[in-house]
Subunit: 259 residues, 4 copies
Amino acid sequence: MPASDPVRSDIAWSSADTVVVHGKNLCEEVLGTVNLGDFAYLELFGRLPDPDQSVVFNALVVALVEHGLTPSALVTRLTHLGAPESLQGAVAAGLLGLGTTFVGTMEGAARYCAEAAATDTAWRTDDAALEKVADGIVASFLDRRAAVPGIGHPVHKPLDPRAEKLFAIARGHGIDPANERLVRAVRVAAEARTGKVLPVNVTGAIGAVATAMEVPLHVVRGLGVMARAIGLVGHLVEEGNQPVAGHIWREAEERATRR
Amino acid sequence: MPASDPVRSDIAWSSADTVVVHGKNLCEEVLGTVNLGDFAYLELFGRLPDPDQSVVFNALVVALVEHGLTPSALVTRLTHLGAPESLQGAVAAGLLGLGTTFVGTMEGAARYCAEAAATDTAWRTDDAALEKVADGIVASFLDRRAAVPGIGHPVHKPLDPRAEKLFAIARGHGIDPANERLVRAVRVAAEARTGKVLPVNVTGAIGAVATAMEVPLHVVRGLGVMARAIGLVGHLVEEGNQPVAGHIWREAEERATRR
Amino acid sequence: MPASDPVRSDIAWSSADTVVVHGKNLCEEVLGTVNLGDFAYLELFGRLPDPDQSVVFNALVVALVEHGLTPSALVTRLTHLGAPESLQGAVAAGLLGLGTTFVGTMEGAARYCAEAAATDTAWRTDDAALEKVADGIVASFLDRRAAVPGIGHPVHKPLDPRAEKLFAIARGHGIDPANERLVRAVRVAAEARTGKVLPVNVTGAIGAVATAMEVPLHVVRGLGVMARAIGLVGHLVEEGNQPVAGHIWREAEERATRR
Amino acid sequence: MPASDPVRSDIAWSSADTVVVHGKNLCEEVLGTVNLGDFAYLELFGRLPDPDQSVVFNALVVALVEHGLTPSALVTRLTHLGAPESLQGAVAAGLLGLGTTFVGTMEGAARYCAEAAATDTAWRTDDAALEKVADGIVASFLDRRAAVPGIGHPVHKPLDPRAEKLFAIARGHGIDPANERLVRAVRVAAEARTGKVLPVNVTGAIGAVATAMEVPLHVVRGLGVMARAIGLVGHLVEEGNQPVAGHIWREAEERATRR
């Protein structure tokens, strides 16, 4: 094949006694010293994080791993009920629900942060400009009767403690706080326009910080996917010890077809 | 509902200002200090690893993240070609190939380590017993013309550097080396019976060490699933910059239907 | 590429004005005259069914399409809740539960029919031999404390009307009734050994008739997969008009984390 | 539970000796007389098709079953390579690629047919209005540099024989031809604006006819999902006899990592 073969991947290669991933010798430079979150960073960025980036990136992904008995967790458990031999199938099924409803809000927050940065940067330093940009974002959602991504939570009011913690970690480790300020301004604008209490939630914080760390917009959802794969394995461990899927199924079936 | 409600999960709970996962206050005890691999350990074991366990567990999972352009990576890229809007679908599709052929060998090695420990323990201290147990394991596979899990590699000969490194890390961090000795004895017995060069490979090392760390047998495959979810997101990043799926498809289609 | 190119598929080919599938001109010989079940038969066997085979095969697959609010249907609906933009993801998630628990019983019945035919055929004509083979099958499951596939039902007692109907259709259309007799003998043997009422169920009838029609054992599960894909689309239609997934999730979450 | 229980499904119910699906007695009114395509229609519409609807609906879905070695077929085969024990996983993986790229064009054609009908109906009877509506549709895609759905094909020029056949079947069985005329007018407008040869393709015909049959827009993709599930089982049958996945993988891996 010619050097210009279009079927080419530069992520990994190996010889008899060496494995290299993203330019790192796996055995000499990675195993035993690089934690899983840092290796995930390497997969996304092609380089290892510096110590500050490591702390922030690990925190972002860790915050996404476990959200309790979500629809995804129920799906993984119900799939395991039918195909206990296929752990990968149960986890894959759970991941398929990470679409616009849940993970989409993280992506939505990342998108308005990225778009605000792309079209104008005055808001990064000027409070009046910030308010105007934030209000424009809010209006664009409310005008089409859509929820504003990244704000609001049924339980965590008036503040989502995870969002506050993630912002504090990011600030403490050198991440540009402009996106944090933007999401907080979006909150203020949305509360003013709706009269509701709409705390910046964990997806808003992750969208803002991930974008500040230059995670590409189309990969933001990937943070949720990699994190939740871990959490769903955890749910299968609990389902093995304390099964709920059978109960949920039988009750739903009985209720659904009652005559 | 009564206290005995069978629909119950003890993984996580939250109040307005607190989120608790496996008994840890997420904001105060986890975010900013616990890396992703340690959090995965928490999900599997319900407790955080000690520093030695952290190093070994992170190494095991990191070693599984990236194996180049595997069938799973091809599947994720080809699925993205058809449904670029659904990153979760592309990753889920790739995970579905983590079955008996690839991840099964890790599980197979873990299984014979676990079974050997369950039926007899003399081999843990007695070399003659070790040889006998190992030879029995090898015979049980060869008798049904099956490959012995955890040994052999097309490229990494006479040693798989990842296996050697993982064993060294495990020994250096207090993991009981009995399973390592068992897998190495399996190698010797298999080479004696077959005349082939059959190094302990990375899946053999992971199966052995994970079992020594008390990862339950039915969850061993989960280490591969969580790791590979990360790697598959990485492949989507590269596919975005350097696409190969379209080429592979068009060439395969043209070759397949040539008349 | 040489004529011996291993990347080859003979299912379909096309030119500017012709599409051929399994040797049939799609536009001239298929569209408008071949129904979906017959086309599925063509996909599996490489030839169209004769009129008798058409009736029986369509009945087998139709019987598998819809079983109410099963775990698979719940999974599809819960996945849709999170990713309403990805209908294919919701259906795929539901299919992932078609494993050993549910579809496996159909496969199990097909397997003992196929194995009985492979090892001995006296039972096909001799009643005493039939009883002995059936009792051996039952014993092989009960000895390892497994359920005997293809018999027993929580609701349909003393007969599963679907099984009876499928057997009648098969007999009426020239399918060899030997497997029906075998499954019925398995029922008798199992009831004798357990003292329970264990009607031949729909999966037993399908496994028996599909095997009599020479559906390969490893493809039997495929009948369930293709049928259920249709049923799961139907559940998404109802979920759109009469949503249940959100209720099931919220109730489960509330119950699960009650303190 | 109260009569107003929100967890309710009216698709199916059963008693000891009866199974009812969408109001039909499965054993008395369905099995043995209703083919798979008609049963799929019942799942979507809640009623059986009349004889004309039966012919057209079966033809639409049959036309979607098999498109050769598509990315979905490759994905199913590659997934089978890694997890041969899980037929349902291999099919599910293949379905996950039925997103915007491929099935989306069918949905796109259905959408502009549905939108044209919703905003104005003069085009259904007036040729000048038809041309204007069609040109507006074409312009709306070209203005954002998007391909116009439902037209164009790399091989089937100047006509896609499947589209022509499906339209002929639809006309011959009483389906309102207004959407056919609209898609043909879209073709003319697109060719005029681009100078390219852009035949109405099979997805355009299916989108147009399905919409004329009142398949809801959000379910149009479901026709492709149910059809392709059948086709992917067919590819697994061929992969069992004539495997290609291993070759494609090994060649891709070797080419990709050549140094």
